[in-house]
């Protein structure tokens, strides 16, 4: 039995890594200009290729692909953390309104700064998004003390999301014309327009956060059994909960600051990965969810770019199409099991 489990985990990891790599390559190759693998190979080893191809590859597609990969992973990890935190399989940064909160504060900052012609650094965006994420999280936490049903918690999260979105809309409506285009694209969620500088900052931040989450995998496994037992096993539950809130907000903030709100990845990817592995153990799930989220987002971004090219879909449109059915599936299945 132990052996077959080991095999399952190995195969699952192999599938996730292969999937991520495959979609990475497809994302780089496919587009309005198809680029062959040989060209990519030549560019990587430093040989000359056409200037247009080089710019498309190096300045547009590669940073975008990396961003989708890193942010997708971060999103799934944030979802996994929130699901663990609330003991609720349909929790995620989007449904709990955390993304929308981050979006709201970013929009406020953006409009305010741009109105005064101050250039906003990406660090400031991230900080703003983090503040927004923590704000929403605070509301959700307040609600979670009063409502104990998982569906009600999600409903309150969705409400918070609506409030934040309304405020964002308001801000956008009264913003200058030039800002609107910028804000509008971003507030719908998109991986377009990524630069290498963005990728560098986000990968640094997310790598640190990922490391921190991974170090928590043992107490998280105890926390999954419920707080009473976690405490009996010697876990400092309060301390752990604070860390979970901070880390999941950090991850959500990174995503929102760069790509805007992206829906459903945070729920769908961890759930699919759990089913693939047949376990929910944090030590496996933390890296696996990250990979799963990466593959999922790369796949969705590929569709968003290419399905109706040259018109680009917002990333949330695609993730919702694939993610929302997963949520419905979870809810239908939960009903059948009496252990909710």
């Amino acid at each position: 039995m132990a052996m077959s489990k080991q095999w399952r985990y190995t195969i699952a990891f192999f599938l996730l890594i292969t999937g991520t790599l495959l979609f990475c390559i497809l994302n780089i190759c496919i587009g309005s200009t198809a680029i062959s693998l040989t060209d990519i190979g030549r560019m990587i080893v430093g040989q000359e290729i056409g200037e247009t191809e080089r710019r498309i590859l190096w300045d547009i597609r590669m940073p975008r692909t990396f961003a989708a990969m890193i942010l997708g992973g971060a999103l799934a990890l944030a979802g996994y953390l929130l699901q663990t935190f609330f003991h609720n399989p349909i929790a995620g940064p989007f449904v709990l309104g955390i993304s929308s909160g981050a979006k709201m504060v970013v929009a406020l900052v953006m409009v305010f700064m741009m109105g005064r012609a101050i250039k906003v650094s990406s660090a400031a965006f991230i900080a703003a998004a983090f503040v927004g994420a923590m704000l929403s999280m605070g509301f959700v936490l307040l609600m979670s003390r009063r409502v104990h049903q998982m569906s009600m918690l999600v409903v309150s999260g969705v409400m918070i999301g609506y409030i934040c979105s309304a405020v964002t809309e308001l801000v956008v409506t009264f913003a200058d014309d030039a800002d609107i285009v910028n804000l509008h694209n971003w507030s719908r969620g998109s991986f377009s327009g990524m630069t290498w500088e963005n990728v560098a900052v986000m990968s640094g931040l997310i790598a640190v956060t990922f490391g921190a989450v991974f170090l928590l995998s043992k107490p998280l496994s105890a926390y999954q059994l419920g707080e009473t037992y976690a405490r009996n096993m010697g876990v400092n539950v309060r301390f752990l909960r604070v860390w979970m809130v901070v880390l999941s907000s950090m991850l959500s903030a990174c995503i929102v600051a760069y790509a805007g709100p992206v829906s459903f990845v945070g729920i769908a990817a961890p759930h699919l990965v759990k089913s693939l592995f047949g376990t929910a153990k944090p030590i496996l799930m933390i890296p696996a969810c990250f990979l799963g989220g990466s593959a999922f987002c790369l796949f969705c971004d590929l569709l968003a770019r290419t399905m109706f090219a040259p018109t680009e879909l917002s990333i949330s449109t695609v993730t919702a199409v694939f993610g929302a059915p997963v949520v419905l599936w979870i809810m239908a299945r939960r009903k059948r099991e009496r252990n909710v």
Binding site: S217, L225, G226, Y229, N232, M233, G234, T279, A280, I283
Partner: protein, 368 residues
């Protein structure tokens, strides 16, 4: 006296608001302490406070000589295991994996199980008789099975003391007995100290070395089962209003039928209990006799009959008592005789039956 667990002036409650004050406990290694008391009396609060889940509001609890609140978390986790009524939430965990979570305080930073840990898991599952469930999903087994897996998990934690909150509530009679047998085995073989709450008084009486009776705001009594199960004490502790509990026999009965008794039951030696209970179900009040005070029928008769003609045990039935029985019978219309034959020391009851026939009563028989 060297106590393994002791509580001094311990006050427990929620949010700085004391619920039960000044609890004093002294428990030697390998003793079983059971908390009994009515619903909502605060048994769970006491257990949670002892386990460090709730901060003490006053006083101190000691493990050995150490104040429990000063023991580092992991060290305490290696000494104390809990089985609470909070439902364990699991996702995609087999029973074996649930048991293995008991190894948590012993594993390294990433919680990887070593060979010894795996061996401990296997041993704990054997000890708790749950090995055959090891590959089943924990969410898909029954509440009773879950309770046994949780005990195995606690054993796997290799504690010195184990705290259990109503551990037998979901178990059927076979597993209730098996569960408590495992606790006794742990106590004898591993010197485990046990603190638990039980609703089943008869089990508490049998398994406990000490019993703590909690009554709302205070601890009413602490003592051995013999000290606790004194006549009429349980009825008082639980404020029993409908029916009764007999401390000596452990039998409980519903309320006796009300009204003027019209039936006289001749019983003895345990043959009358079923008739008493049947009359109770039908709501027919009755008198019964002549019963010795040590008769099997006696506690049931005391609980249900309007009148019991009782004889002092190991003494012959006095003439005056026999006359009383006759007078009681005169007031009844029907007589039910549960005795098929009378022993040589039951001549009084035989004569009573004859008297019933002579005085023209409607005599029925009811043999088991």
């Amino acid at each position: 006296m060297e106590y393994y667990f002791s509580a001094k002036q311990m006050s427990v409650g929620y949010r700085k608001c004391p619920l039960i004050r000044n609890i004093e406990i002294g428990l030697k290694r390998g003793e079983i302490l059971t908390l009994i008391g009515p619903n909502g009396a605060g048994k769970t609060t006491v257990l949670k406070s002892i386990a460090g889940q709730l901060a003490l509001i006053g006083g101190v609890a000691f493990l050995g000589k150490e104040n429990i609140q000063h023991i580092p978390d992991t060290e305490l986790a290696q000494k104390m295991a809990v089985v609470f009524t909070d439902r364990l939430r699991t996702e995609l965990l087999t029973c074996e994996e649930v048991v293995a979570t008991g190894r948590y305080p012993y594993t390294g930073h990433f919680g990887i199980l070593s060979k010894q840990d795996h061996a401990a898991v296997r041993e704990a599952m054997e000890f708790g008789h749950v090995t055959e469930m090891k590959d089943q999903d924990f969410t898909k087994i029954s509440d009773g099975q879950r309770q046994r897996v949780m005990l195995a998990r606690a054993i796997c934690q290799e504690p010195e003391i184990i705290i259990l909150d109503e551990p037998t509530s979901y178990l059927d009679v076979r597993y209730k007995l098996e569960f408590l047998s495992i606790l006794q085995k742990l106590k004898r073989e591993k010197g485990l100290t046990v603190i638990m709450s039980l609703h089943e008084l008869e089990l508490a009486e049998r398994v406990s070395d000490q019993i703590l009776c909690i009554q709302g705001e205070y601890v009413d009594r602490l003592g051995t089962p013999a000290e606790i199960f004194q006549p009429s004490y349980i009825g008082k502790l639980f404020q029993i209003e409908c029916g009764s509990y007999d401390e000596k026999s452990g039998s409980m009965e519903l309320e006796p039928p009300e009204g003027e008794a019209e039936v006289f039951v001749i019983a003895g030696g345990g043959c009358g209990r079923n008739v008493y209970r049947k009359l109770q179900r039908q709501g027919i009040p009755f008198r019964t006799g002549i019963l010795y005070q040590n008769d099997l029928d006696y506690p049931v008769a005391k609980a249900l009959a309007a009148e019991v003609i009782e004889a002092e045990m190991f003494e012959p039935v006095a003439k005056a008592l026999f006359e009383t029985a006759k007078r009681q019978m005169d007031r009844c219309r029907r007589v039910i005789c549960c005795k098929e034959r009378f022993g040589s020391l039951e001549s009084a009851n035989r004569e009573l039956l004859l008297y019933a026939g002579q005085s023209g009563k409607q005599v029925e028989v009811s043999y088991d």
